[in-house]
Amino acid sequence: MPRLTLREAITEAIREEMQRDESVFIMGEEVGEWGGTYAVTKGFLDEFGAARVRDTPISEMVIAGAAVGAALAGTRPIAEFMTINFAFVAFDAIVNHAAKMSHMFNGQFTCPLVFRAPGGGGKQLGATHSHTPDVIFAHFPGLKVVSPATPYDAKGLLKAAIRDEAPVMFIEPVPLYTSPRVRDEVPEGEYTVPIGVSDKKREGTDVTIVTYGEGLHVSLAAAAELSKEGIEAEIIDLRSLQPLDTSLSVESFKKTNKAVVVEFGHKTYGIGAELVARLQEEAFDYLDAPIKRVAQFDVPAPYAGKLEKHALPDAAKVITAVKEIL
């Protein structure tokens, strides 16, 4: 099996779905002639033509809103936000329109679209361009929110997202795009990974680490270190934030009785808070220690490299958190 980067897996998913289904097209800023700011759609303009690979003006509101309208009328648009930071400009179209179509109109309409949003920090782009705001999208029922951590999941989840009848916010961790560390075997051709199903990424007995996206990789690094000291962490990758599947996390927690949640977004009102709430609701009698959260500090992302890194999770912070509760 070919070993692909996360970005290559995403490209392959879009290409396969566009080859499979004529009603799928992609639109966004620089997706065509430029080949995508992060080169995800490189070569697509030549392969699929300008009608299916659409360069747009800098108009996020209508990029998102037109995707909703086009989805209502029987096509399956993929609307790309150049980065998730620009999805804030289209926030109303995403959470108050795409997310409302099915329920508010009593199931008459479906709105099968994918909002692709490369996200994440650590690239020294400053506060306006470095968000991991996944939780605020996941707060709105009606929108599905997915964020893959591995090439295999990325391809399978994106193909599932494109086929889903619901609007899906597909958040791509840019720092993982080309990371060799993340490169992985990805089957060619047909397979999907179901949305709303978490996945165990490491077996362990001593502590449960619940995470997703970039968090998976710092957690795996931490687990490798901890293992040297005889501490075996079990790692659950949420993969989907909405719908949220806590079954594996609860099951693992009942085994280890200790948990750390790792995310790259801000800590306060973050993903981790919900996980803590769910674990103590669903497995209260198994709580041996406080559930820890490792997350981005509650501070706008600074440009300076070390300062920015200081605010972000890393393996050392995960190790510290684990040891505090063991």
Partner: protein
């Protein structure tokens, strides 16, 4: 225009007006309608004349002042009224309410409460038809106040850049809630905004249903010919407040009376029918009483309809997807 067509339009306009008048009573006197209620009284000729020019498959999408469009596309008064009364038999099962009426079967996509947002959806409806290679046009309605929001700008620009088959129909009733166009907009003619996007546009007497119909027909024909987006500025006036509870301090009774007495779309059409098509006063009254009877039935139907069952609340948050999930 044919007499039969004009009579049909007359019937529709009378129905819309009586519908709105009954809603007003049901809200203010009987408390059976809640939330916001934006009445269409005064603007009837626009929904009727424009939708009269569409053919099946053409899309219709509008804002929250949507009862007239809902009835004009062919939704039953009883189901629209049931919706306003929050009943299971309502057009969206009591979910959407007054601002969010819709019917997929009639390619009437709503009914949207957020000013300007549906213009971006309309852009997408038109894009989908262009993409599929059909000749379907999209009729998108909005008020003059909505032309000051970012959605308007991005949608009109994209529609022209891609030459999408959409007819932008501005119902210029001079006020956005209480703010006059002079106070809110740098230009006082929406057609002047259209020029900034190289979009063909036309000012239309929105109180003359025939003029509305003819302008719309031309615009739709242009869309079908691939000539790209068209904009129609319909000059009109809303007689009632913006919504229930509006004390309308921002305009004079003189202004209102002038429109109502000299430009009322139903009166104008009735005169035309009588003077130019030999229709009798009695025939007109007959139509009105038929409509009254229809409305009584509608109210009865809505009254007797059950409310949605509580356990349906969670239906349709996420539609089922055949296959993977």
């Amino acid at each position: 225009m044919e007499k039969a067509t004009l009579l049909d339009w007359y019937h529709q306009m009378v129905l819309i007006r009586r519908f709105e008048e009954r809603c007003d009573e049901l809200y203010q006197l009987e408390g059976k309608i809640k939330g916001f209620l934006h009445l269409y009284i005064g603007q009837e000729a626009i929904a009727v004349g424009t939708i009269g020019a569409r053919k099946a498959g053409d899309h219709v999408i509008t804002a929250y002042r949507d009862h007239g469009h809902a009835l004009a596309v062919g939704l039953e008064p009883k189901n629209v009224l049931a919706e306003l009364m929050g009943k299971a038999s309502g057009v969206t099962g009591g979910r959407g309410g007054s601002m969010h009426l819709a019917s997929k079967d009639l390619t009437f996509w709503g009914g949207y409460g957020i000013v300007g947002a549906h213009l971006s959806l309309a852009t997408g409806l038109a894009l989908a038809e262009q993409y599929k290679g059909t000749d379907a046009a999209t009729l998108c309605y909005f008020g003059e106040g909505a032309t000051n929001i970012g959605y308007f700008h991005e949608s009109l620009n994209m529609s022209k850049v891609w030459d999408l088959p959409v007819v932008w129909i501005c119902e210029n009733n001079k006020y956005g809630m209480g703010t006059s166009i002079e106070k809110a907009s740098a230009v006082n003619r929406i057609v002047d905004k259209a020029k900034g996007y190289k979009i063909t546009s036309k000012v239309v007497d929105g109180m003359d249903v025939t003029a509305v119909y003819e302008a719309t027909q031309k615009a739709i024909a242009a869309c079908r010919k691939g000539k790209g987006p068209q904009l129609l500025e319909m000059m009109t006036y809303r007689y009632e407040g913006h919504s229930i509870g509006d004390r309308t301090r921002y305009r004079t009774t003189e202004e209102l009376n002038k429109w109502r007495d000299e430009k009322d779309p139903i009166a104008l059409l009735q005169n035309k029918l009588i003077n130019e098509h030999g229709v009798t006063e009695d025939e007109c009254i007959k139509i009105q009483t038929d409509v009254d009877a229809q409305m009584d039935e509608a109210v009865k139907f809505a009254d007797e309809s059950p409310e949605p069952a509580l356990d349906t609340l969670f239906d349709h948050i996420y539609p089922a997807t055949p296959g993977v999930n």
